[in-house]
Amino acid sequence: MTTLLMVEHLKKKFGALVATDDVSLSLNPGECHAVIGPNGAGKTTLIHQLSGKLTPDSGRIIFNGADVTSVPPHIRAHAGLMRSFQITSLIPGFTVLENAALAAQARAGSSFRFFRPAARDQAVNVAALEALDAVGLADRAAAMASELSHGEKRALELAVALAGRPKALLLDEPMAGMGREESRALTEVLVDLRHSLPILLVEHDMEAVFALADRISVLVYGRIVASGTPDQIRADPVVRDAYLGDEADAAVL
């Protein structure tokens, strides 16, 4: 059981603003590690550095034994570190199946194939359909991605990440903008996944976080102020301080 994702002393500044301040965390096989924090704490900046959209000023990111600190996003994804987007990022003119199939295609041999119809690639279609099935979208496979409801788009967002058969998932607020029912349904999906697939979860929905996380790290002003099991975090006075004034979250805590 070696650590799958290891983040060491990560730092990122935007001018005078320290968005990520000496963040170290880890993700082990079979675990869901949640990063929570108030708005502006630097959660998305952290995800961007882990996925490769931003390069940290200093620190290291080790994934699956390799240093990926300054490796571009597509190589990290290819290595099995797959992200989802906080703001739904799909291919609107593709069907639901094609969205997932393109992700599956990335992990199923070369895509420098110019003549055979991609739609008849059964191995890719099966992988895509499995991912859609896992999030409950299999019966919408033929719909255009642009025609989906918000909740369905969020589910497809996750399915696209799954279709790439990742070794670890970086989920950036998967419940963003979802209603309570939809949010619960997606939490169910993730509960089923989390022990087969390590997840680094950034999420505002505390109900989902406490239902899913094996470990929680609390990010405030770019700095991890507390890290531990859900019970430890619930009891931590520093965490309660950080969330004072944010009544909804404080109530759950």
Binding site: H74, I75, H78, L97, F114, F115, R120, L129, E130, A141
Partner: protein, 329 residues
């Protein structure tokens, strides 16, 4: 799982039957195939050479549409590849190396190389910068050709013979050239349709709509775009090979930015990212140019507003009116 996947192989691509999808192109190819016979009755050699011009433009435009319509890359220097192909052909023939076994590899290699080098630079940019930088590379070739004093410089280069196809003289008469060009165009059309539905095409089209997501899936978008850029350059170069043989003349004007603009007009008029758009656009372009210029010397005054009308009313161009419905791409 496997059983469930089978009927879902292609939810959109097969929405229309294969015959319905191929129908507009089949009709056009049949029409083109009949042109030499038609020319016997009406129009003569003029009609044949007009049709050849349309086919050469269609070949170059189908290459450009791979970039504009499929990959979302608006190249404003695509005529440079037509010109490069024409010049390589012209220079080889002038130097006594008239065999296609020499010319075609030279055309392919030079266009691929130029596309690879300039594409690797241009594709670092996007949007307006990409348009400007492709324009600049195109103009670079244009001025390069203008200064080739050994090969006619500004005045262009007249060819005294056409390319030799293994001693058969296939291209020496216009009929042979016509049908060789038509077969090449059909092959390019079939290949372009296959490519759009292939794994490669899926990555390109996906990246046009959402490059960040496609990269997050694990694709190096740059490499796919560069490959498309090279393919489009080579196909345009082959169009240039035919242009040189048909006109028996090459000129720097083939590479000018106005010619690149004409190709963009053809792609937009025909319908970007459609099956038969390049074909329809090229035929419409040549027909309009001929028809309108016979009416008035200032035919562009009518052509311009027509283009604006087409761009405003038909989002998928002429192909949008005749092609089978396709996924919105």
């Amino acid at each position: 799982m496997k059983d469930a996947a089978a009927p879902l192989a292609a939810p959109h691509a097969d929405a229309a039957g294969p015959l319905r999808r191929a129908a507009p192109a089949l009709v056009l190819f049949a029409f083109l195939a009949l042109i030499p016979a038609l020319a016997e009755v009406w129009g003569g050699g003029y009609l044949t050479s007009l049709a050849m011009r349309a086919m050469i433009l269609a070949l170059a435009a189908s290459a450009l549409d791979l970039l504009i319509g499929r990959a979302g890359l608006v190249s404003f220097g695509h005529a440079a590849y037509v010109g490069l192909g024409a010049y390589v052909t012209g220079i080889f023939i002038t130097e006594g190396m008239a065999s296609v076994a020499l010319i075609l590899p030279a055309v392919i290699i030079s266009c691929a190389l130029f596309a690879f080098i300039t594409g690797a630079i241009s594709l670092r940019t996007s949007g307006v910068s990409f348009i400007m930088i492709t324009l600049a590379f195109g103009q670079m070739l244009y001025f390069g050709a203008s200064s080739l004093s050994a090969y006619g410089a500004d005045d262009g280069l007249t060819l005294w013979e056409r390319a030799d196809v293994f001693g058969t003289g296939l291209l020496y008469d216009n009929l042979g050239l016509f049908y060789t060009l038509l077969l090449t165009l059909i092959a390019a059309h079939v290949a372009a349709s296959a490519l759009a539905a292939s794994r490669f095409g899926r990555v390109l089209i996906g990246a046009k709509q959402n490059a960040e997501r496609v990269a997050a899936m694990g694709f190096d978008v740059f490499r796919y775009r560069l490959a498309a850029y090279v393919i489009a350059g080579v196909v345009a170069g082959i169009a240039g090979f035919f242009l040189a043989n048909q006109a028996e003349f090459v000129s720097p004007a083939y590479m000018s930015w106005q010619r690149s603009g004409d190709l963009i007009i053809i792609v937009v008029l025909g319908g970007m990212g459609t099956r038969s758009g390049a074909l329809l656009g090229a035929i419409a372009f040549v027909a309009l140019e001929e028809g309108l210029s016979s009416l008035t010397h200032d035919w562009r005054l009518i052509f311009g507003p027509l283009l604006i009308l087409a761009a405003l009313t038909a989002k998928r161009g002429i192909a949008g009116l005749v092609d089978a419905p396709e996924a919105r791409r």
